[in-house]
Symmetry: C2
Subunit: 304 residues, 2 copies
Amino acid sequence: MSEPLSVAVEPTPDRHLVAAVEGAGGRVVGIDEARVLVWIGTGAEFPDLPDHVEWVALKTAGIEEFVSAGVIDDRRVWTNASGFYAENVAEHALTLLLAGLRQVNTAVLRHWDKEPIDTAVRSLHGSTVAIIGAGGIADSLIPRLSACGADVIAVNRSGRPVDGAALTLPADRTGEVWGQTDHVVLAAPATAQTRHLINADSLAALPAHAWVVNVARGPLVDQSALVAALREGRIAGAALDVTDPEPPAPDDPLWSLPNVIITPHVANPSSGLTRTMAPWLAENIRRFLAGEELLAVVTPGSDY
Amino acid sequence: MSEPLSVAVEPTPDRHLVAAVEGAGGRVVGIDEARVLVWIGTGAEFPDLPDHVEWVALKTAGIEEFVSAGVIDDRRVWTNASGFYAENVAEHALTLLLAGLRQVNTAVLRHWDKEPIDTAVRSLHGSTVAIIGAGGIADSLIPRLSACGADVIAVNRSGRPVDGAALTLPADRTGEVWGQTDHVVLAAPATAQTRHLINADSLAALPAHAWVVNVARGPLVDQSALVAALREGRIAGAALDVTDPEPPAPDDPLWSLPNVIITPHVANPSSGLTRTMAPWLAENIRRFLAGEELLAVVTPGSDY
């Protein structure tokens, strides 16, 4: 029988992940004897890596903080959590879009102000929703949107058709989306290419009834351009689980605009994160032991 | 060629309905020469009916006000709008359930209060939702819930299995639902049998994480029992598009409870009502002319 795989779960031995390691044929050890490091801490506190660590598993899909901390090297395999939380994030994106269209925020703030709410309510069914950055989140979101009677335009890197989308466009044709869609969901990683994807130009090209939903990363949106568009009624609203910075300053105009919903980066609640991650880690340990390709391998030199 | 059907659209000649009548082979006339009356006014202002009116089409699904005004007779056919707005109402029910589970109301009221919101967020996927009064709304809601990864328990009058539901129970076994479900959506008509269906007993039998959604009629809920259950944390929250009375009084405790979402009876917005009704009216005119059974015929002697 083979030796159990030595896995460090740091900086704290989270019980869900420890159980996943042990259930998948691993043994939890200190980093000084580990072949695998499961790191659930921040980028700033990331440790020096011994050479015997062959694989580092990170707990988030967005790994900007590890990239900017310069810890990701090419001497071992790195995985993030891309796709692991897709169902949670897709559910939150649908929630934000529906809450915006159906004026839940206005109803919560302005008790039974029936006439303006009644005339402002819009339906998701019969509308078109563009998903920018169509990966795992889109795979979970598209069947939800379809069941709600919405059509989907997907934008991904390659333009390779996405299941369930009426139209898939490659990222370099994103500019064609704004005039063809009713609403936008941002689900792309934060990279130099996606920075300020929603800007004065895209906001001007969207229809006046559009809602913009961001469940990805704050810097995808040029927030001052967004505030200007919302103030002038050039789009109908914005529903944001992420902002730039987080949280917005107490005097940020986003807080006072009537057509904005902000949730505090909870699409994938950190309170349940390791429990959700656990079965994915177990599967990756099984794959590592079997010599198979891991899920969610970080592309060397990229931000995700 | 046959005479066009004489249809009165009263008390105001709504343009969507007039176009539907004319497109379906009808001619809009005054009530004094009409074979059909499309009534879009209230129960209180309902006119005396000449004998030559063979069919009265009402614009709402709930017709309590016409029943209590005593205008519904057995000398002609009456239709309501049961099922016509089902897609709208189902979408609103899904919105309210998701907004509650994902703490949108708390996020709107308490800016970036991350820790308590993060720990309170729950997911719809993996949960069970009971739909009480499984008719047209449930037919639209079940595929949406299924796509969101939820199982459905349906309750209808007969107990005849509802498509897509994991379990269907007849109304007289509703009491078995509370212990088997995570959440409840009320979609039943207001009748003597459904009055205070949600009461101290059902609230005590629901799990502590349950959300109760009401898109039907306010009197289905014993509101003081609901307030007590919410205050004591016996259920997680209530999301109500209808209340008893409407609106709740300004000092109603519902307005101040943190775990309540109230929208002002806009699941089927009145601003778009006749536009949504128009194709259904056209279809019923076609059926009337063809001698076929009409959609949404009111059961004589019943409240719906």
